[in-house]
């Protein structure tokens, strides 16, 4: 255990919070996720001037405004490409992307798969409440097929839910974990591990929408720790996912896939050389 003197000016979680008051509904799981972010940043003693949190659109995507680090509120579903572009051009920064299941798996679903494939060294946190909260309660890709309270799907969606951990593993993410907003300290630990692990890290945080899915308050009683340690073997991780009930909490996969780093050296010295490279042979 490290020793610290109480007189040292270490950054505390509250130092990573902005002065903007969240407008989330009291009781929303995202408050706890915000706390987990600040605790993780404090645990790593990240320099706030070298951290960027990028989001899309949704209640959860408001999170950059509440953090005292750099932030960017991108277009719906497009936070990941912004994050990838930033990390590639500024590898010195800690880049984190955050948002909801609608933002990340509906409109942003393809970006999610491509980001896993590309495996750039960054962290993606999805606050999953299995609903579109901001637009007042429509079903999202992770909604159960028989949820009948959505106005657009009064008889349920009747289609298979999207399994983000399975997609992340199959697409090439290098770190995959699930946490719960019921345990902000545990979520902070997972975020810390995710940031510290090289490559693309994906963290699903079960974060209830108490307004449109009030029954999710019961998640607190349902979540349970995964009784295994993280594996580096994708085949083992895949087998574990076959018996996942969506409420296991913990780190599933810590891979050894080599992160993508672009080459900045020019491939051609002149326009003529470039033209030659692209010339189509007759």
């Amino acid at each position: 255990m490290d020793q610290t003197s109480t007189s040292t000016a270490a950054l505390k979680p509250k130092d990573y919070k902005s002065d903007t008051k969240p407008v989330w509904c009291p009781g929303c799981g995202d408050f706890s996720v915000l706390s987990a972010f600040t605790k993780a940043m404090a645990a790593m003693q990240l320099d706030p001037e070298r951290v960027v949190v990028i989001s899309g659109i949704g209640c959860s995507s408001r999170i950059p405004a509440y953090l005292n680090v750099y932030g960017f509120h991108a277009v719906h579903g497009r936070a990941l490409p912004v994050g990838i572009g930033l990390k590639i051009t500024r590898p010195d920064l800690t880049v984190m992307v955050a948002g909801g299941d609608g933002d990340g798996f509906s409109i942003g679903g393809n970006h999610f798969m491509q980001a896993c494939r590309r495996n750039v060294d960054m962290t993606y946190v999805v606050m999953d409440n299995q609903v579109y909260g901001m637009t007042k309660g429509q079903a999202s890709p992770t909604t159960e097929p028989d949820w009948e309270r959505g106005k657009l799907t009064p008889h349920g969606t009747r289609i298979n839910p999207f399994y983000p951990l399975v997609i992340a593993l199959a697409s090439g993410a290098n770190f995959i974990a699930r946490a719960s907003s019921n345990d902000p300290n545990g979520a902070a630990r997972v975020i810390t591990e995710a940031v510290q692990h090289p490559g693309f890290s994906f963290v699903q945080i079960l974060s209830p929408c108490i307004t449109f899915r009030p029954e999710q308050r019961d998640w607190k009683k349902i979540v349970h720790p995964a009784p295994v340690v993280a594996t580096a073997d994708p085949a083992v991780a895949a087998r574990r996912l076959m018996t996942d009930d969506n409420f296991f909490i913990g780190t599933l996969f810590k891979g050894e896939r080599v992160p993508f780093t672009p080459e900045f050296e020019p491939r051609a010295e002149s326009a003529h050389e470039l033209e030659t490279a692209f010339r189509m042979s007759a």
Binding site: P22, P26, G27, G29, P184, N185, T192, T211
Partner: protein, 170 residues
């Protein structure tokens, strides 16, 4: 629950507990201010002020001491929620002072139980003495909060009825 052995370790735990409580009460006060529930907002503000005073007192008591740096997830409270911290999911924009103080009361009681468990545990005698003092102080808080709550009526059955809800599903 992990054994707390020394005064330094105990102070690190106590400080983490008070800081967490300050943080949560501040968040809850902001929630109530944002959703226009001024009476409960003022109550949570007062709790945040009291907890931050405790945290400050602890910082002064620990000045110059080398406290162990414990990551939040290493804090071990057994199977219990962190003592003195009200669950993030427990608030409601229409909650009454009575309901808010019921949450506070439970959190304070958990703090008493925690400090008492530590005082009766296996650490060194100085530490156990310190933990017993904290348990006694928290017990006083429980009594004060209980009296405070008595000033308010329990909520009626329709406490969460809202003729114009901000987020309506139907």
């Amino acid at each position: 629950m992990k054994t707390i052995n020394t005064c330094a370790e105990f102070l690190a735990y106590a400080l983490a507990i008070e800081e967490e409580a300050t943080e949560r009460y501040t968040v809850f006060a902001e929630q109530m201010e944002t959703t226009n529930n001024p009476e409960v907002a003022a109550l949570f503000r007062e709790m945040a002020r009291l907890e931050s005073e405790h945290a400050h007192r602890l910082e002064v008591a620990a000045e110059g001491e080398s406290l162990p740096a414990i990551d939040p997830w290493e804090l071990d409270f057994g199977d219990e929620d962190p003592p003195e911290a009200v669950d993030y999911s427990a608030t409601h924009y229409l909650m009454t002072p009575y309901q808010a103080l019921t949450l506070v009361l439970k959190a304070e009681q958990r703090a008493v139980d925690f400090f008492q468990r530590v005082a009766e545990g296996n650490g060194n005698d100085d530490m156990k003495q310190l933990a017993a003092e904290y348990a006694a102080e928290e017990r006083e808080h429980v009594e004060k909060v209980a009296k405070w709550r008595n000033r308010y009526p329990p909520p009626d059955d329709n406490w969460d009825d809202d003729p114009d809800p901000p987020n309506e599903l139907e």
